[in-house]
């Protein structure tokens, strides 16, 4: 396998019933391709946390996953509202999730720390009023 495989998904704001679809689908594909189970798990966790953040905190957007022989790159691009202080957002325990979202089990402020821990590279570019792009890479072997 030398070519890249590209997978695309739309993520709607507030659509909890479909949240986890992109990560579930990517996980299934990677498993079928015979990628190491530990790498599959790290990709699934990182992507789910990013996907659910788009559902909860953003106005929606799109995910692109590029699978190549050496790495899995995940690009999560949303249409706002953006993150004011990305360093603060990265801190374990920091969350702006409202009560109705917390009652669903979210809001521990551990999503971004999980993404950092489970990916080999994490980059957050955000502009208030414009949007956030989260890029993660997990290296294969």
């Amino acid at each position: 396998m030398n070519e890249k495989i590209i997978l695309n998904y739309n993520v709607d704001s507030d659509d909890f019933t479909r949240a986890g679809e992109a990560s579930g689908n990517v996980k299934r594909n990677l498993k079928l391709m015979g990628v190491d189970p530990d790498i599959v798990r790290r990709v699934a966790i990182s992507l789910y946390e990013g996907e659910i953040n788009m559902v909860i905190h953003s106005n929606g957007g799109a995910i692109e996953v590029i699978i190549s022989p050496t790495e899995i790159e995940m690009i999560l691009k949303d249409e706002g509202p953006g993150i004011e202080d990305t360093e603060l957002a990265m801190q374990a325990g920091y969350s702006t999730a409202p009560d109705n979202i917390r009652s669903l089990g979210f809001g521990a402020g551990m999503g971004l720390p999980n993404m950092k821990k489970n990916s080999d590279e994490l980059k957050i570019e955000s502009k208030v009023g414009v949007g956030t792009t989260v890029t993660m890479k997990v290296f294969i072997s």
Partner: protein, 112 residues
């Protein structure tokens, strides 16, 4: 203990759905209701005890590879989520017991 035997051994729990992979190993009870903590810390072969009976908990169980979910304190999945558990092959058990008591029962049954 294998998941299939675990389900039989712990007959106090109601079976809401039997998943696909009944040959996987159940090693340890794990309790947490905050999804991103569960996602980050779920041990291998976890029997995950939670009161979060919803779609998101199913997604976490599936992606973090819990061996099964045990819904404690009488929490229940709705019809749509039971269908989702079936589709994804996730084993879901339920009990009226509080979280600690359910986890203790699991621990004892795994170490009998």
């Amino acid at each position: 203990m294998l998941l299939g035997s675990f389900i039989e051994a712990i007959s106090e729990f109601e079976v809401l759905n039997k998943g696909y992979d009944l040959d996987r190993e159940v090693r340890v009870p794990y309790c947490c209701d905050l999804l991103s903590i569960a996602m980050g810390r779920m041990p291998q072969g976890a029997a995950w005890v939670t009161v979060m009976a919803n779609t998101n908990a199913l997604a976490v169980a599936s992606l973090a590879e819990a061996a099964c979910i045990i819904l404690a304190e009488g929490s229940r999945l709705n019809e749509a989520d039971i269908a989702k558990a079936k589709e994804k092959g996730i084993t879901v058990l339920a009990t009226e017991l509080p979280v600690f008591d359910a986890a203790l029962l699991i621990y004892n049954r795994l170490h009998d």
